[in-house]
Structure formats: C-alpha cells, structure tokens
Amino acid sequence: MSTTATLLRAAEDNDHQALTGSLFILVVLITVAITFWASRNTKTAADYYAGGRSFSGAQNGFAVAGDYMSAASFLGISGAIALAGYDGFLYSIGFLVAWLVALLLVAELLRNSGRFTMADQLAFRMRQRPVRTAAATSTVVVSIFYLLAQMVGAGALVALLLGVENEGLTKNLTIVGVGALMIFYVTVGGMKGTTWVQIVKAVLLMAGTILITVLVLAKFDFNISDMLGTAAENSGKGSAFLEPGLKYGVTTTSKIDFISLGLALVLGTAGLPHILIRFYTVPTARQARKSVLWAIGLIGSFYLMTLVLGFGAAALVKGDEKEQIAASGGNLASPLLAEAVGGGSGSTGGAVLLAIISAVAFATILAVVAGLTLTSASSVAHDLYAQVWKRGEVTEKQEVATAKIAAFVIGGIAILLAIPAQKLNIAFLVALAFAVAASANLPALLYNLFWKRFNTSGAVWSIYGGLISSVGLVIFSPVVSGKGEDPTGKNLSLLPTSIDISWFPLENPGIVSIPIGFLCGFIGTMLAKDRDAEEHYTELDVRAMTGAGAIQ
C-alpha cells in the first residue's frame, strides 16, 4: 500500500508533517469506507434516522462517547489544565456529572416514548405543528452553534497540527473539506454510518489517550504527586497551580460566571439533541441504560486521563514548545506532550506520537460534526417538512430524500458561516449550546415526562422562553461586546471594539436563563387548558415507564 510506504518513509525522516498528513488521509479513507459499507443496509426511515435501532448498548455507549467528546474536550481541557492548572480540571467535571441526569431522568424514558427526534417525544401528547416547530428550531439552533464552533476549531487545528505556512488558505480548505466529509457521511451513511464513525473515533481517542497517559506516568515512576509537583514548579505559579482560582476565581463576577457555566453543563447535556437521538439507535430502554453506563465509564476515565495529560504537559513540555502551547490557547498541549514523551522534537518517536495524536484529534472533529449535521437534518426533514409542512402526508422515501437535501443545505450553511467566523472570537458558542439545551430543551422534556397538567402552550413557552432568554442574554454579555482587547491587540469579544451593547455581566447565561425556561413552561401551561394533552399523559406515562407499545 502506497500510504504505508509514505508513512514509513516519513517516519524515518522524522518528518512529522508528512506523517501527520498521511495519517489524516488514512482516517478519511477508513471513515469513507465505513460509510459506504453502512449505506448498503440503510433503506427505511428507521435505518436512516436511527440506524435501524439495531445497535447494542455497548456499541451505542462508544458512539455516545464519540459524539460527546469533541476536540474541545480532547485538546481544550488538557490545554486548560496545562495553562491554568486545577481550574481546567474543575471545568471538566461538569461534563461528567451531567450524565447522571441523562441516566436517571431521560435516556430510558425517551427511548420508550420517542421515535426519531427530540420533537417526537414532546409531540406524543401535544398539538403537532406548534410543538414540532419549536423543538426543531431549538434543535437546529443548538446544533448549528455547536457545529460552527467545531468547524472553526477544525480549521485552526489542522493548520496548527500540519504546521503549514499559508495559514489562511489551509484553514478555509480544511473547513470546506471537513464540511464536505460530514455531508458525505450523513447523506450516504445516515445514522448507521455516522454511528460507526463515532465508534471508531471513540476507540482511537481512548487508545491514544491511554498510550500517552501511561508514557507520561512512566516518566514519574507512576508517582502522581511527583508529576503534580514538577508541573507546579515548571508552571512558574507554584502550589497555586494545583489549587482552584487561577482561571475562574479571579473576581466575584468570574466566580458567579463559573457557577452559571457549571449549571449549564450539568443540565444541558441531557438536553442536547445530538445526544438525545442516540438513544433511539438501540432496541430497548434497557440497552439505552447500558449505553449511558458505557458512556459514563468511557467519558469518566477519559477526563481522569486528561488530568494526567494536562499536568503532564505542564511538567514535561519545555522551551519553545511550551511557548507554542500558550500561543495556541492550550490546544497544542496534548500533541506537544505526545512529542515530548516520544523522545522530543526531532526524534522518530516524537514525530510518530505527535502524528498519531494529531490524527486522533482530526477523527474526533469528523465524528462530532457528522453527528450534529445528522441531528439537524433529521429534525428539519422529520419535524418541519413531514409533519409541520406536509402534515404527515409523506412517504418514508420522500422524508429520507428531504433529510439528505437538508444535510446538504445545513452543511453548506455551516461552511459558509464558518469561513468568515474564523476571524471572530466564537469560543463561547459551545457553552451557549449547553445553556440553550439546559434552558429550552430540558424543561420541556422533564415537564412532559413528569407533569400531567403540562400542555402544548407550556412546551412552546418553555422552548422559546429558554431559547430567547439564553441567546438574548449572551447578545448583551461581554462575549459579544465590551470586553476590549488583550495586550496583543486581539479583540476579546465578538463585535468590533467600537461597539459596546453589553449590560449583562456574565458570559454564561444559565444561572438566569435555566430558571426562566422552567418558569415559562409553568406559566405557559397555566395559561391554557388542554384536555387532550392531559388525557394522553396516561399513555405517555405507561409507555415511558414500561416500554409497552414503544416503537421497535
């Protein structure tokens, strides 16, 4: 195989860029092959939207983990620990604890009472059109926010990891390439293809992380206290590096901001549409439970290893490379740590490990963007086109064809938005996606499952109320305007520094918008009387709790 030959040659030359490039191509080839293979068995709507509901709990657990652990987790959290020490670890914990909400309150009941999309679960006992319109709007908004952040990140990362000269062009080409790939996975492979891409990615990510973790710990004879001590010493911040406060504890506002972020993370995960629809890919509620258990095990051990990667990078990466980590905002911490434990810059081991970790990061990006595109395309086709517009008078074939067109359009829009967005500071978009999910989606889902009196009006109120309050507060927050420039002249907000419309002091709206979402759901419910919704609660309740009559 010519790829293997190129790889060997590149490894001998210690040419990590050629090696990294070849591994990227290998990742693309593997995922494209998987997608073609999966497309042979994708015929019905249930195949396309839910992978035929044929995945086992363990398989889906890997896919959930692959869907959830983005490049922001892999590179971002280890980078945050490498730069800010303990506060990076503090940040990661919300992402894990959140899974208990999904396990205890959402996954199984949703599998029993839904079909393909988040809206299906709500529409079970509500008036179809208003509820589906609201749920699809929030699904697309959350997914596009998340998608934009991933794609802009992909452009920057690939340019960084390949170390190319002409950065602007490479970034644009990467965004177009990643966009084209995700459209391909989703249109050709549907949920089956996307799921297998996510499973492969999760395996690669875990294997790569375990490898680096063991190598780092071996450097300290598996003495964690030693590693922490060296990290604190080399960080130049002493023992403060191992204590909370360097990043989130600076001012009263930043402390409250972190509480707000923590709430959005813990409550948002179980309301992320691309996570919710994964529970439809298994045959029973019991397999959905098993999926979450696997996901918790994988995600938990991953974040534990991130702790070693982050502090390991602070302890072991020195000199020029250390400055590169700071310049990349932390994103290069894991790749450069891999290089350092492999023997350092210029060594064969270093070049190989750096290339492997870069390829893992690339696979991570591909799997996450594919999941997001599929989620929004499904909601547009199944909720907006088939139910709202055609009032259910469509064939499965028409619906799946529409989903594929929707994937093209959404992917195209994401590419067109991501290219200009590179120049803007959009790091807040992932946190905002969690805040919208926690403020708009979770209240509607929980009320629908546990409150008989809940009705169409309440669902519509809670979704729009949570959506508008979270996005609205962010528009008037420092992330959009008024933060000024950092010492290097980089704009810290989204809008040009000449514009300042900020009055809301927090960067994370959750602490205000989550209560608003729940309150709106309550008020909206009380304003309307809906006998139909109340009567159908009996059916929803039995179906959710026992799986009787659940879609197979």
């Binding site: 604890v97 309150l105 079970f124 008036r127 206290s225 909370p244 989130y248 059916e539 039995v542 009787a548």
Partner: protein, 112 residues
C-alpha cells in the same frame, strides 16, 4: 391533535395505568431518582462553591502534592460512577421485572 392511538391500545394503557403494579413501579422509580438527583446536584454545587470560596481549605495538602481540591474533584468521579452502578442495579432488581410483566400484558391485550 396529539398522536393518534388505536382504541384497543388506549384501553390497555388506561387499564395498566390504574393497576397497583404500575403505581408501585412509578413510586419506586421516583423515590429512587428524585432524592438522588437532588443529592448529586447539591454535591456538585458544593464542590463548585468550595472551589470558588473556600480556597484555603481546598489548598490544604493531604499527602505530598495532593491537596483537598484534587481529592474533592476525584470524589466527584467516584460518586458519579457509584450512583450510575447503584441505579443500574436498582433498576434491574426493582423496576425491570414489573415493567416486563406490564409490557407483556399490554402485548397480550393488543393482539386480541
């Protein structure tokens, strides 16, 4: 209109909802998950608040360079894993048998 359900399914759902078994299933589920959800949310918020406002306590070194903050953070992992396993065992022992019986009854009724 909500989703249309055939009349025999409607009747089966109504009947099952009124049984003592279903009430028992729902009660044992809520009695388990509600207090536990409140507990782990409080436990997590306590951790976040302590990290924000109890710096001296969190900075206290326990062994070598391992301080209270690190142990507190690792305990969040332990509690998350433990609650997940505890719930799975509870659900398999107390909920699944009832759910299976009721689902079988439903399937039986619908076939007729």
């Amino acid at each position: 209109m909500a989703e249309r359900i055939p009349p025999e399914a409607h009747a089966a759902y109504q009947r099952i909802h009124a049984t003592d078994e279903f009430a028992e299933l729902k009660r044992s589920y809520l009695r388990f998950v509600v207090p536990l959800t409140v507990a782990f949310m409080t436990w997590y918020l306590l951790y976040v608040l302590m990290s924000n406002y109890a710096g001296d306590f969190m900075a206290h070194k326990v062994a070598g360079n391992i301080n209270v903050a690190l142990i507190f953070g690792l305990l969040q992992f332990v509690s998350t894993f433990a609650i997940a396993i505890w719930y799975a065992r509870f659900a398999a022992r107390r909920m699944d048998p009832i759910a299976d019986r009721l689902r079988a009854e439903y399937d039986e009724e619908i076939k007729r």
